[in-house]
Symmetry: C2
Subunit: 197 residues, 2 copies
DNA sequence: GTCTATAGCAAGATAGAC
DNA sequence: GTCTATCTTGCTATAGAC
């Protein structure tokens, strides 16, 4: 059975615009906004640089489109994953697993969202940060629902969880633990702690 | 009393080369390798672009110099912090606090190390990754010394800790918790867990 | 050591043919 | 919709005066 992430990543061969977005996501993920060039992206999508400007007004617009799609994919994956689970701890674990699955097995689009945003255009930057914050509020709700006391603890926990999750691309290797196993491991550590003395 | 980080960040007004490195660190941190230009860096340091090439052969060389200095600063801060503490948990907490202090209060150099590395030059990239791994091995040793069983748990713990720490720059605000408080909070969560049921 | 001047090139973006 | 051709700008890097 294909994972949720694999479904989401299936290239849409029907539309040229889909090819362009896929190519842009790959390049932006690997090289960042400044490092990727419109010529490279166009080449990967089987066109010339000028043709891109029929679909997008600017490189910035193309980046925003990729970012939006990344938010859309990871949001819907996480929301699907928590839909049925009733237990608060199980819901958090499912959300973490879905987030990691899209990020590690799914790929390019979501990792553009996680990457440090381009610094050049402050207006765009603020908009993208707002979108990312809205996505992260899913986790805020899940963590607020945990049977724990202390707002400080909740905030620190949320920051620790997001950090642990979003740092995984720097060390993850496909032949190691699966995204689901990593999520389970992280949750265990957070929930029970490791001090056995 | 100035923090350790503040000491390390004191600009060395005596040497022009120090000014260049400081300016490069600021720009590379804020804009990344591709986003920062030699003209901007030179301007910040009070010179013209061409003059930089008296000090450094290339932009890549300049980046490597900043990166090396960043590794040097954060390594020595962490090593100083764990020097005297005997208890393994205390040693880890001290290391986390020092790491965060340099990263959040100290600034530019260390954050260049944490940032996603430039993708253009694979050879340089491998070298810098190796340096970063060597630094992180300090934490590996500290975590191996904890009274915990299971190599898997240790590995996951290390990844969770590094992720939580290195993600802090995306949400840290100077008027919130101090680096030391964040370190204490994270360590408590990891050590004891939060499930009170 | 820093300057001016510029070579050499790659980037984002546009115009108009097809 | 995509192409070719090109404009303009900005970049890294070099050469040589001071």
């Amino acid at each position: 059975m294909p994972t949720a992430a694999a479904q989401l990543e299936k290239p849409r061969r029907d539309s040229r615009l889909g090819l362009v977005l896929d190519a842009a996501a790959r390049r932006f993920r690997a090289q960042g906004f400044d490092g990727a060039s419109m010529r490279e992206i166009a080449g990967d999508a089987g066109m010339k640089a000028g043709s891109l400007y029929y679909h997008f007004e600017s490189k910035t617009d193309l980046f925003i489109a990729v970012h939006d799609e990344g938010i859309r994919r990871i949001s819907s994956a996480v929301e699907n994953a928590i839909e049925t689970a009733p237990d608060p701890w199980q819901r958090l674990e499912n959300a973490m697993a879905a987030h990691l699955d899209v990020l590690l097995a799914g790929g390019d689009y979501a990792r553009v969202v996680i990457r440090e945003l381009p610094a050049g255009n402050p207006d765009m930057r603020d908009n993208l940060v707002r979108l990312r914050d809205r996505y992260e509020s899913i986790f805020r709700v899940l963590i607020d629902a945990l049977p724990v006391d202390g707002a400080t603890t909740r905030r620190q926990l949320r920051m620790m969880v997001m950090g642990a999750l979003n740092w995984t691309p720097t060390w993850y290797r496909p032949n190691g633990d699966t995204p689901a196993e990593i999520a389970t491991g992280f949750l265990q550590l957070i929930r029970k702690g490791i001090d056995q003395t």
